[in-house]
Amino acid sequence: MDADGDPRTDTTLLAAALAGEGEAFGAFYRRHVRKITAFHLARTHAAHDAADLTAETFAAALGALDRFDPDRGEPIAWLFGIARNCLSSLRRRGAVEDRARRRVGLTRIELDDAALEQVEATASAELVRVELREGFDALPPDQRDAVVLRVLLDHDYAEVASASGVSEAVARKRVSRGLSAMRARLAGRSSS
């Protein structure tokens, strides 16, 4: 689901969707649906709310296509703004709205347990991916290099040490500190 198969930029896709090209909005959706679902799952902790909010978010985006102004920012920022609105209306009302879906003619998708699990798994995987990437980016460079060499490229500690010009003990320490920082970040997310 990572490749949406469309080389066009988000802005171009939205312009084509506004002109009525369904497939353009489909590509925009495929590109961002996991991020939006992950956003909603991280804040509601309930797969059925996350699914409903995701559908409502994209329906609202579709309904507001003509109000998207590329001069005011990237489409993804606009989309997250809509997602935040949907979420705050859930918090105000205690229920997910379906106004945007009704307006553009979407029907509510009823989800069985297996479908809810799919939503949860997809969104959680996305969350972990984002958190890991952010956690990774936040590491000090020496730890990040050590983690790349040892964990991703599977070098042994002697090789990590010589590549970085440090002793093996220091290399071990860097890998272990880097990994535990990332672990702490993930743990922080799931307990929040």
Binding site: M1, A17, L18, A19, G20, E21, G22, E23, A24, F25, G26, Y29, R30, V33, A51, T54, A55, F58, A59, L62, G63, L65, D66, V104, G105, L106, T107, I109, E110, L111, D112, A114, A115, Q118, V119, T122
Partner: protein, 184 residues
């Protein structure tokens, strides 16, 4: 199991095309209304001018009949509700299952589906939507729902009615253009 992500994608793709249709129709309605208003203003102005000319001029002659703006209203058909009328779907091609596919699309949009079978002839290229007397608005919505590129509307004919049955208010005669468009 329901595939939430795929279902939502299909709905959004369909709704994107429908939205553009709707916006275009609304624009057409707005410009039609504007034209009517302009017409009324022009006609009213002419009437006023004629009346003034009549009162200023020859008092013996009866004033020219004042042209009044025709009470021209634009009939905006209220949106119909899917499910309140029956739609029959007839396959006008040799592609097996094409009528069933179109019927499924409509059913997903809550239309009530009647007869689904083969049409009298099977060499149809363009999809046509036929309507029973008084059901043109419903036919327009059905045509929008199946988003066929070249759909035309026309009153139902006797042969179609015989196959589709008396209950059907709208009959879709599926042409090979529906084979080209993706079926959700």
């Amino acid at each position: 199991m329901t595939d939430f992500f795929a279902d939502l994608e299909q709905q959004l793709i369909g709704a994107t095309a429908e939205r553009a249709h709707r916006v275009r129709r609304a624009r057409a309605r707005r410009s039609a209304t504007l034209a009517t208003v302009l017409l009324a203003v022009v006609a009213g102005g002419a009437g006023l001018a004629a009346a003034l000319a009549g009162s200023d001029g020859d008092h013996g002659a009866p004033a020219a009949p004042t042209p009044t703006a025709a009470p021209h209203t634009i009939a905006i058909a209220p949106p119909t509700r899917p499910g309140t009328f029956t739609v029959a779907v007839l396959n006008g091609t040799r592609v097996p299952g094409l009528a069933r596919g179109v019927a499924n699309v409509l059913q997903n949009r809550n239309y009530k589906i009647g007869t689904v079978t083969n049409a009298a002839e099977q060499g149809r290229a363009a999809t046509t939507v036929e309507y029973a007397p008084g059901h043109r608005a419903e036919a327009t919505e059905v045509a929008a729902a199946i988003t066929a590129p070249t759909t035309t509307l026309r009153p139902i004919d006797h042969a179609t009615r015989t196959i589709a049955g008396r209950l059907a208010k709208v009959v879709v005669l599926v042409g090979s253009d529906q084979a080209a468009s993706p079926q959700p």
